[in-house]
Symmetry: C2
Subunit: 364 residues, 2 copies
C-alpha cells in the first residue's frame, strides 16, 4: 500500500489514539495530536480518502473514524514503532519464570498466566514435541514381593515412573529378566510399533508373568501417547471482561467458550519460524468466532525436539507493539529455561547452575 507520508502519519495517529481511548477519533483530535501543523479540515479530507481506501471506517455518520482490519494491518506492517519492554516487566517475567521449581508443563502454564496478566488479554500456551518419542531405557526397582517401580527414560531425557502392586509375587531376579527383555524389544520404537503381536511375543519370551508384561506394555503405550499430545492451556479468559468491546457478556462468553474448547484450539494461528511474532488481525483468522478479534502469537523452539507457542487473543483494538514485545520476551525466557531445565548442569565446585542469572537479555 503506497500512502503519502501525511496519510501515514494520520493513520498512525488514528490507530494509536483509538487503541488508547476505545472511542472513534475525530479530525480535531488528530489535528491536536499532530501539533496543529495541519488544520482539522485538511485532516477531514485525508481521512475521507483513507476511508475510501478501506483503511478507516465510520461506525455511523457524524462519529469519528475507527481503523478497519486492513488499517490495522498496514499499521502493524509499516507504521508501528517497535516498543521496548519496560524494565519492570522484564524483571517480573524473569522472576516469575525462574521461580518455577520444576516441571515443563508447569513452566508453560506459568508462561500463559504471565502473558495474560501482563497483557490483560486471555493467553494460550502450547507445547509439543517435534520428533517421535521413544523409550530409551527401562529399569524396574524391586520394593517387596508384590510391588515394584517401573522407571523409564525417554529419548528426550525425561523420566517417567509408576508404582505397580501385583497380586502375584515377583522376585528381583524376575525383574532383571523383565528389564532385559523390555530393553531389548521396547526401546527406540514409537508407540505405533508396540503392537499386540509384539506384546504376545514378549510374553512368550518371558514365559512366566504374562499379566505383568501386559501391564508394563500398557504403561509404555500410555506414556508415549501422552508425550505425543499437544499440551495447551488457556488462561486469563476473564481478562476479556476488562475491555469495553467485551462488556457484552454474551459476546465475551461466545469467545471464551470457543477458546476453552479443546478441539478448536488447533485452529489458532501458528507462526512459522521460531522467535517470529505473528499478528493475525480480525477476519484474517480462519475461525469465524475470531472474526473480530486479533491474535498475537510467538513461537519458540527448544533444541530440535520441543516447540512451543504462546499467544494472546483480544479485540482488534490492541496495543500490538507492546503486546508483541512482552510475548517475545517471555518466549525468549522460556527458550532459555526449557533448554536448561531438565539437564541440571552441576559444577561441584561453584554450585552455580545454568539458571543462575538467565541468559536472556532484553528485547532489542
Amino acid at each position: 500500500m503506497n500512502l503519502s507520508e501525511r496519510k501515514k502519519v494520520i493513520l498512525r495517529a488514528v490507530v494509536e489514539q483509538y487503541v488508547q481511548t476505545a472511542e472513534p477519533v475525530g479530525s480535531k483530535a488528530v489535528a491536536a495530536e499532530l501539533g496543529s501543523s495541519i488544520s482539522s479540515a485538511t485532516i477531514r479530507n485525508e481521512m475521507a480518502e483513507l476511508e475510501s481506501l478501506g483503511l478507516l471506517e465510520q461506525p455511523h455518520t457524524s462519529a469519528g473514524r475507527v481503523p478497519s482490519p486492513l488499517g490495522y494491518r498496514i499499521y502493524v506492517n509499516e507504521l508501528m514503532r517497535r516498543q521496548k519492554i519496560s524494565t519492570d516487566d522484564a524483571q517480573m517475567i524473569t522472576n516469575a519464570l525462574k521461580s518455577r521449581t520444576s516441571g515443563k508443563s508447569d513452566l508453560i502454564d506459568e508462561a500463559g498466566v504471565l502473558a495474560s496478566r501482563l497483557t490483560t488479554y486471555p493467553a494460550y500456551a502450547m507445547a509439543t514435541v517435534a520428533g517421535v518419542t521413544t523409550i530409551a531405557r527401562f529399569d524396574f526397582i524391586f520394593i517387596d514381593s508384590h510391588t515394584f517401580i517401573i522407571v523409564t527414560l525417554l529419548n528426550n531425557d525425561t523420566v517417567k515412573n509408576k508404582l505397580i502392586h501385583l497380586t502375584v509375587p515377583v522376585s528381583p531376579k524376575m525383574l532383571t529378566k523383565l528389564a532385559a527383555v523390555f530393553n531389548a524389544s521396547f526401546t527406540g520404537i514409537p508407540e505405533e510399533r508396540i503392537t499386540p503381536a509384539l506384546i504376545s511375543s514378549t510374553e512368550r519370551a518371558v514365559g512366566d508373568m504374562i499379566g505383568v508384561v501386559a501391564v508394563i506394555a500398557g504403561f509404555t503405550i500410555e506414556l508415549l501417547c501422552e508425550a505425543k499430545a499437544i499440551d495447551t492451556r488457556v488462561t486469563g479468559t476473564m481478562n476479556l471482561l476488562n475491555h469495553p468491546e467485551y462488556r457484552d457478556v454474551d459476546k465475551a462468553q461466545r469467545l471464551i467458550s470457543y477458546l476453552t474448547d479443546d478441539n478448536e484450539l488447533a485452529r489458532l494461528p501458528l507462526p512459522n519460524a521460531s522467535g517470529e511474532v505473528k499478528f493475525t488481525i480480525g477476519p484474517e483468522n480462519l475461525a469465524d468466532e475470531l472474526r473480530d478479534t486479533s491474535v498475537i502469537a510467538v513461537r519458540y523452539d527448544v533444541g530440535d525436539d520441543l516447540q512451543g507457542l504462546i499467544g494472546v487473543v483480544g479485540p482488534t483494538r490492541m496495543e500490538y507493539s507492546k503486546v508483541a514485545a512482552k510475548l517475545s520476551y517471555i518466549a525468549q525466557g522460556l527458550s532459555v529455561l526449557l533448554a536448561g531445565s531438565d539437564k541440571l548442569q552441576l559444577n561441584p565446585e561453584s554450585k552455580n547452575s545454568k539458571l543462575g542469572d538467565g541468559g536472556f537479555g532484553q528485547d532489542e
Copy 2:
C-alpha cells in the same frame, strides 16, 4: 426456629419459586403453587409475618418477596427435600472420572471441571495430604558416566524422579554407596529435619562427591515441600456469567478475581467430616467478598493420608439440593477412584482392575 406448618409451606414455596425464576415472588404466585387452597390475601399476611421474622425481604415496596440469607438457612436446614441425582448425571460423572487415565492432580482437576459443568457454577477442588510426607526409599539408576536418575518412593506410595547430569564423572559403585547413605540418613524424616547439618555430615560420610550430595538433598527437600502444598484448582469461573445476578460484569469480576487469588482460597469454608455437605449461605461466609454468595462444599477422605474438598460458589439463589446431590456423588466417586488409583490391583488371570465398574453407587 419454630414456624407454623403453613408458614413453612409458604417459605418453601417462595424459596423454590425464586430459585427457579430469579424474580421476586408474589402472594398470588404462591397461592397458585399451593393449589389455591388458601387465598392470596392470607398468604400476604403470612408473608408479612415471615418478613418481620427476617426470613423474607422485599427488594422494594410493591415487588414480591425474596428469601433472606436466614430464610435460605431455614430452608436448607428444615424444609429442603433431598434430591436424587439423575441417572444421566450419574452416568456422566462415572464416565468422566473413570476415563481419566492417571494422575492424582489430573483427577482432582477433572472433578472440578465436572462439578462446574454440572452445576453451572464455578467450582473449586482441593486436596492435601493429612499426614507428614517422608521418603521411604532412594534408588539411583546409572545411565552414563555423567548421568543418573534419582528415584524416590514416598511413604504415601507415590514415586518421584529426576534426571541428573553432572560435570564430574560418577560410577555405578559410587551410586550404590550414595544410595546406602541416603537410605540410612534421609528416609523416614520430614522435610524440617533435613538440615544443613545433616547434609554436611552426609557429605563427610561419602567423602567424595560433595556437590552431588547437595543436589540430591535439594531435590529431596523440594519434593517434600511440594507434597505438603495444598493443591487447589478453581474452574468454570465463566459460568458465573450465566446467572442473572452476575450480569453485572464488575460484580462478576470482583468475585472471580477473589476466587482466582491463591492466597484467599484458604478462607473458603471447609466441611468438618468426610462425606458431609456444608452449606455456607451469604453473610455466613468469613470473607467479605463472599457476602452475597453461597458456597456448597463436600469433603472426601481417602484412607488416612489424603483429604480433599470439592465445592462450588454461586449466588445465594442456588438449587441447594440438586447441587449438593451432584457434589456428594462426585466426592464419592473420587474417594473410590483415589483409593485405587495408585495401587493398581493386578490379577494376571482375569486382568480386571479395581476400576472395573466402579464401586460407588448412587446417592440415596
